[in-house]
Structures are given as C-alpha cells and as structure tokens.
C-alpha cells in the first residue's frame, strides 16, 4: 500500500461520503448542549459541531461542515464513535488521537485501534504534516463543545 492509500484508507473515504451526524444544526443549542465552530484558514475547512452531554455521558454529536475528505471523515468517525461514550473515555481517546497525529507515521493504526476504533484509520495522516490539522479540526470542536455542554 503506497502512502497515498495509507492516507486515504477505505474507512476514511467511506466516512467522507457517509458523513455520519452531518446535517443542518436547527436552532440554538438547547439544555445539555453546546456547539463549537472551528475553521482552518489554510485550506478553508470549516465545521460547527454540537454535543449533547448528560450526566457525564455523550448522547449525540451532530455537525455541519465543509472541507476536505480528511476533515469530513474525521467528524463523521467522531460522531459515530462518541455516541454513548463517557466524557472520560472521550478525553482518553482525544489524547491518544493527538499522540497518533503527532507521531509522523511512527505509531501504527493497529496499535491504537482498541482506544480509537475507526479513528485509528487516520494513522496514515500523521505522515502528512499539512493534513494533520484537517484530521484534528473536529476533535478540537468536540473537545470544546463537550466541555461546555457538560457544565
């Protein structure tokens, strides 16, 4: 598998097309909800992500965004995997994902699959420093929204 295929794993291309949790965010965030807007001025990736958190548990992640396949797939994977997770589990996964993105290809996807699930497929992104921000955009939005929704 060449590095381009490692970057664009089938899981990623599939999520980029399916966009789990994507759609127009109706109205303002309600009770137990908060949303975060993140923008990458370099490439125009843009996401608004809304989290619903109750009793330390993430109930839903929905989002509206526009951007490259890496950024869109990342948001889709997050939306799918965080449903029902505890905030602590998210914090652990968020740390693992940031470590993976900073690894410059030294961490293999299989080694973090247990913690990261489908998000481990982004291992190949870490070899492309210019694309790491694309993968992290929705995680930044999720961290921000979850922290404020859980207050």
């Amino acid at each position: 598998m060449d590095s381009l295929q490692q970057l664009y794993q089938d899981i990623i291309l599939d999520h980029a097309r399916r966009r789990v949790g994507a759609g127009e965010l109706a109205g303002e965030p309600g009770e137990h909800q908060a949303q975060s807007h993140q923008h990458n001025p370099l490439c125009g990736d843009d996401i608004t992500l809304r989290a619903t958190v109750q009793d330390g548990r993430i109930e839903t992640i929905t989002w509206d965004g526009d951007g490259c396949s890496i950024s869109m797939a990342s948001a889709s994977v997050l939306s799918e995997m965080l449903q029902g997770q505890s905030v602590d589990e998210f914090t652990e996964a968020n740390t693992a994902f940031h470590e993976l993105m900073g690894s410059r290809g030294k961490v293999a996807g299989e080694d973090v699959e247990e913690t990261l699930g489908d998000a481990a497929a982004f291992a190949g992104v870490s070899k492309f420093p210019a694309r790491v921000k694309c993968a992290l955009l929705s995680w930044e939005a999720a961290k921000d929204a979850i922290a404020r929704a859980g207050l």
Partner: protein
C-alpha cells in the same frame, strides 16, 4: 557564471520547447523525482524556482564585498554600496522606473503596507505641508477591487479604519472579471486611493490598467498597482502605465525570498513621510527631532537585505537575457494548453472568464474538480509529482464570490514544458476515480 546564462540571446523570435529544455538546466531543483515521479512544478504563482546565477551572485557578494552599505569609507563598504545601488538601477530598468523610484522592502506585502502607513502618518500630521496631500479623513474614500490578494486589501481596510476614511471596492462581473462600468460608479471625487491588481493571483486574468489609471486620474486619486503576478511574467513599464505606486516581490520572479520593492513616482516618494524610522534614513538628528533623507533612503531604515538585492538583480538579468516578451509568449502558449486541457477533463471546471470572453489570461489557471475537495486534489497530484497550490490563495473574498471555499491553481513559468501541463492533465483524469466520485 556561464553555466547559468540563458542559452539564447533575446533577439531570437520565440521561446520554444528546445530552448526551455536548455533553460531548465539552470534550475537544478527541477531535476528531481517527487514520490517516484519527475517533479512537475506548477506553483510558480506562489513562489518561483531560482536559476544558479541568483545564488551565485549572492555567494559572490559574500565572498568578495560583504559590508554595510551607505556607511563607512572602506573599500568593501564602497563595493557593497555599488553592488546594492547597481542592483537598484537594474531592477528599476526592468520595470520601467527611475532609480530613485525603487524602494527595497521585504516583499510586496511590506511595500503596500509602507504606502498605507506613510499615508496614515501623513493623516496624523507627519511630513509637514508637502505631505498634506496624503492626508485622509472622514469623507475620503479608498477603493480596491473584489479580486484582490489580501495584501492589497487589508492594508486599505485598516488605513480606512485608522483615518476615518471609507473603504469601497469595484465589483466583479459574474465571470469574476472586473466590472469597469460599475467602477465608474464607485470611483468618484471622494476617491483618494485606487488600488488594483495587474494580474489576478487566482484567476490569472489581466486587468485593464490603462482604463483604471485613466479613471483614477480623472478624479485625482493615487493609483496603486499590485504587480506581483505581472512583473515576473509580462514585459512591464510602470512609467508608461502611469501608475503612482506599484509593488512586487523578488521571490516570484526568480529572485531570493526576503526582497521586494515599492515603486513610487519620485516626487510622491520625496514628499511622503517615512514609515520605519532609524539608522540610514536621516539627514540630521537631535535629541528633540530628526530630518529625513529623500527617497528611496527615507524608506530604507536599518541595515538592508544586500545579498538578496544582489540576487534579485541577477534574476532580472536572467529574465532580461531571455527577454520578457519571449517569456510572455511561451507562457501564453502554456496557458492556452492549460485552459483547453483542463476544460476537456471530465468533471473539471475552470474558474474565471471563458476563453472566448476576450479577457486576457496568463498561465495561472484555477479550477475545481467536481466532488473532490481541492486539498484532496492537491494531495493526489503531489503523489504523482505534480505541485500545485490549493486553498483560497490569500484571496478569500474572491473565492466567496466564486461560490467555493477553496480552489486548485496551476501556475506555470518560463521553465515549464508542454509535458508538465500534460502530466497535470493525465493525473487529473484519475482523481475522481480514486475518490470514488462518479
């Protein structure tokens, strides 16, 4: 330096594929493989590659005459000052300016900010009676266009905010070319500055400078030309164009990074208050106040970028030897191949005016691939050794106008070949398949 000299004299009628092939030997960076493919560099709009002679000139300067310029009486200081001022004369000739009309800056961005800050200082009362004509205030208007690079947009927005003037812009036609009829409604007696690009850094279209200068003059506005994408690619005669100011960057025209220039008509530069203050720009200084040298020195505070200036002179020497009309001719050929070729790739849409619209376009061509984000297009092309620019190319308002958040831009230069264009087109034909777009 024979190795780096262009292979042909400027009298040759046209730059052709064989000669371009010989010129490429002067650009060693082009002779490499990227991701298993020969490098196809189509990002000269962002920065150009450099021929040997540019860094050889810098090296020669450091080896033989490095010293601070315009100070000290020793032999090296004289040699360095000569090299520095000879370079100014060479660059001035290259763009049709007088020697005293070229001010060195870090880049075009700094040159445009220099104008804005000088006007700003004048508006705050600096510069005495001669600078009164640069004062801006409420009721005055600064006009740019809807297609500007951020560097020819934000300095004017900010100047307006600092002085109380109003910032306005000339709208675009639906095809993103400048609406000159609407311009006549935007530019009026209140307009003090009219800033516009010569060649759009995104669309590669060439604006009608003569019409805009005539419009600016008719209302007594100062005209500011962004020449970043014209100075490298087209024969340029700023004096003949009649603009009051212009800005260009060395690194886009075969020169080093870190050096650019401001052009200003001498009588304006001499009357404008300085922007940066310090050494080398003063005539007398007391503990209470200072008086300033005439232009260009009044705008060149501090130790200058001497080696880069020398490198830029070598770059314009190289371009002049090839001949700018011949460079423009070859790029016109490549541009036509790009425009036609891109339009014929299924799922690819060229942004900007149609080829039959009559709007002149250079070999800088933006496009979108339906169903694939530009960042992904760029990544895919890179895996095929093809370097292009993706994003909004520092022209976010223009992209918003085009209805896209980003685009992919191919931009060619004198060292690009027909094969480079074809490599781009071949790789592009596989992009949508790779991303599963039907």
């Amino acid at each position: 330096m024979t190795q780096s000299s262009p292979a042909q004299a400027p009298q040759q009628p046209q730059l052709d594929a064989a000669e371009v092939q010989r010129l490429r030997a002067d650009f060693p960076v082009l002779e490499q493989e990227v991701n298993g493919h020969p490098l196809v560099y189509l990002d000269s709009g962002a920065t150009s590659q450099k021929p040997f002679c540019v860094w050889e000139a810098e090296q020669h300067y450091y080896e033989t005459s490095n010293a601070a310029v315009h100070r000290g009486a020793h032999t090296l200081a004289v040699a360095a000052t000569d090299a520095f001022e000879d370079a100014r004369a060479a660059v001035a000739r290259f763009v049709g300016a007088g020697e005293r009309e070229i001010v060195w800056t870090s880049n075009a961005t700094e040159a445009l900010n220099l104008i804005a800050y000088s006007f700003s200082n004048a508006s705050a009362g600096a510069g005495g009676p001669e600078a009164e004509r640069f004062r801006l205030g409420p009721g005055d208007e600064i006009v740019a266009t809807g297609m500007e690079h951020h560097a020819n947009l934000i300095p004017w927005q900010e100047l307006a905010a600092r002085t109380g003037a109003t910032f306005r812009w000339i709208p675009l036609h639906a095809d993103a070319s400048l609406d000159l009829e609407a311009a006549a409604g935007v530019v009026g007696p209140r307009t003090r500055i009219l800033a516009f690009t010569h060649v759009s850094n995104v669309l590669g279209l060439v604006n009608d400078v003569a019409a805009l200068v005539a419009l600016g003059r008719s209302v007594g506005a100062y005209t500011v030309l962004d020449a970043c994408q014209s100075a490298p690619h087209l024969p340029l005669d700023l004096g003949a164009l009649g603009v009051d100011f212009a800005a260009f960057s060395g690194h886009k025209m075969l020169g080093p990074t870190g050096i650019g220039a401001l052009y200003g008509r001498a009588e304006l530069l001499d009357a404008m208050p300085p922007f940066l203050f310090g050494g080398s720009m003063i005539s007398t200084v007391s503990m209470e106040r200072a008086e300033y040298l005439p232009a260009p020195q009044r705008f060149e505070a501090g130790t200058q970028r001497i080696a880069q200036v020398v490198g830029l002179a070598a770059a314009v020497g190289y371009l002049s030897e090839v001949g700018m009309d011949r460079v423009a001719g070859w790029e016109h050929h490549l541009g036509a191949r790009l425009l036609t070729g891109l339009a014929s790739v299924p799922g690819v849409r060229v942004l900007g005016p149609d080829p039959d619209s009559g709007v002149q376009r250079t070999a800088t061509v933006p496009f979108e691939v339906q169903g694939v984000h530009p960042h992904d297009v760029g990544q895919f092309l890179d895996s095929h050794g093809v370097a292009v620019r993706v994003g909004h190319h520092c022209a976010e308002p223009l992209h918003r106008f085009l209805g896209v958040s980003a685009s992919t831009r191919a931009s060619a230069y004198l060292y690009n070949t027909e094969a480079d264009v074809d490599a781009l087109l071949n790789a592009l034909s596989d992009v949508r398949g790779f991303f599963g777009v039907k």
